[in-house]
Amino acid sequence: MGFAASVIFGLAALFAIAWALRTGARATFSGQARSLAHDIPLTASFGLLVIAIYTFVAIAAPILAPFPEREIVGGQFQAWSAAHPLGTDRIGRDMLSRLIYGARNTVGIAFATTALAFVVGAILGLWAALVGGWLDQALSRFVDALMAIPALIFSLLLLTIFGTSVLTLILVIAAVDATRVFRLARAVAQGIVVMDYIEAAKLRGEGSWFLIRREILPNAMAPLVAEFGLRFCFVFLAISSLSFLGLGIQPPTADWGSMVKDNATLITFGDVTPLLPAGCIALLTVAVNFVVDWQLHRASGLKEQ
């Protein structure tokens, strides 16, 4: 149970650092940044710290990783040692290096996918809500139809048709996710388009694009950002599920979802190896959601005032 202890210790350390940083930020910053630092709950500062660490690791992967991403540097499944702090994987690549590069690939791909899904889904959703009428009906019914097809199976179908390059993976998952974003964006925008300021802008003779961009979008940001956080995490999970079904990210690219899948049989024997990439995913998910919760809380809090 040394492993469990070290995990708990690690999390506690992260919380402690987050607490220290927040205290530091409160002392150093002034103005808006300071009030932000005052406002922030410990969970959210923990989340921000984790996200910052991930971002740093993703960017600095080549510097941090002791070995190249794909190089076979030892025997298979070597134990943890000084040379390979987390051992080696099934064909003898350094686990730690793969984890570090995995941050870059997994987070990068998930981010690109989510961003794309949001650009497409949000614009269409806001547009449908703004214009209404048959356009709204047509788009909504079409999206309903797509949503009625299970996401995983639909992605599977599309990936089989278009192949599994990183680009198609991003496009397919983004397409599937965009339907969900569409629904949310439309629902949020429906609450906004009835506001007087939208009527005022329409009376002024503004075009749809201006209305979407300047009048609706800024007010729909809060729920969309919150959804972004959740979707971001779901994309991870979707990619790892697809890996499980044999259609995820291409090897030998290191990606956490595939790494969990590749080593999944080891779980049967209580081996912790698959836990590492899974833990990386879980930690980021929780961190992102902590931040999202905080943002949502702030957004709703500001509204009440």
Partner: protein
Amino acid sequence: MNNFDMTGKTFAPSRRGVLKGAAAIGAAGLILPHTTTSAAAQTRGGTFRIGIGHGSTTDSLDPGLWEHLYVQTFGSARHNYLIEVGADGQLVPEIAESWSSSDGQTWVFPIRQGVSFHSGKPVTAADVVASINHHRGDDSTSVVKPLLAAITDVRADGNNVVVTLEAPNGDLPYLMTDYHVPVLPSADGKVDANTTDGCGGYIVESYEHGVQATLNRNPNYWKSDRAWFDRIELVSILDPAARLNALITGEVDLIDQVDPATIGMLESRGVARILSIPGNAHYGFPMDSRQAPYSDNNVRLALKYALDRQAMVDVILGGHGAVANDNPIGPANRYFHAEMEAKTYDPDKARYYLQQAGLSSLDVTISVADAAFSGAVDAGAMFSETARAAGINMSVDRVPNDGYWSNVWLNPNGNTPFCATYWGGRAVEDHMFTTAYAAGADWNESFWSNDRFNELLVTARSEVNEDLRREMYHEMQQLVSFEGSTIIPMYNNYVMAVANKIATPEQISANWNFDGFRCVERWSMA
């Protein structure tokens, strides 16, 4: 996912055991029936539950469409064949009491009397004729139709079945062991391809396609020293981890395709043992020799020296296999060429051959999917890693398992000239070469065409001098290995894990997995 796996591709069976029979046409009938085999150690009773990494709702009962271990094992449990391949590789008469031919062209199979189907209907020569004809004719959709194309006529003559061929062929008895050709009950000269009725050791109780099948011992089974278990349960478990878990928790007693990575840990649990049966099955990477840069043999050689075969055996097969020297003919073959210069991982040599090809570096893409063979993707990654040191920049394109054999293999779209492949071994050199290396063969996956090789292939068939013949086959192996366009790094064993409560015979057939699919009737409770 494993249901996209097509590892159970159809191949004609290995002919490892036909050595004797092929050498002595007409004498095979002298082989003693199994009744003489000692069965002292075996006990009756118990339920044998098998977890198999194949099976799908779309599985067909039609033997002409069988293609993977689940339906193969299920078929062997409920059906009998004219001839069986024994655990030692020898042909054993089953529904045919013996076989004989005076000229190699007309074959006579006397049908065993007193055997009946589960329905009670006696097995007759007419049933056998209909069973064979199911795979023949214009409207047959059977996978083995090409294999049986040389048969011009099948007819019943009293209790005999008479098969006539286009031309003499001593291999016919061997063809009759093919798992696609069980003896089915017939009516009006036609078989009902979708029946579960058979004359095998177990009677089907229930079958849910892609899920499970349960069978009970046939009380009227004509073999007294077979079918020890009272009950057989076949469960389709596609997920490797789930299969392992099922074995560990005692839900099943036998599983196939054990992940090499977990073999050590599984053995240390002490609940099951690993059976690793060497055969001639092999994994490979064919290159389309019509297409640049693979059209240059120097490039092909460079690639052949750019992979670490031993590491692949260790990692991909977990040691359960042997290094191969780009040779589809295995050590178990009669004319296996063991003295060929072994190719080892040698980046310098690879570089040298690249220079010979006039290249300083090489960019290639290998298309792999675990559908080709389990671990193919990892193997691709390993290959790519070792190739880099030789100045070969190999990118690994993981293609979907789904549709691998129709879209990737054989380079149908011209964009997958370099991929992965898997072959069950062929016992007879000629069969292997003719199937996959002869110019213009349907399954010549590398589109390799070598005049000398093709010439030798034809002459060797009719060569009677054993030494000359050996020489010819050695030369052919040399040609395939050093000029051929298929990289074959390893022979893979059949790896299965069996619970300790199941007793297995000393000799386990290397002719197909699961003891030639016959584990259901050859094995017993410990």
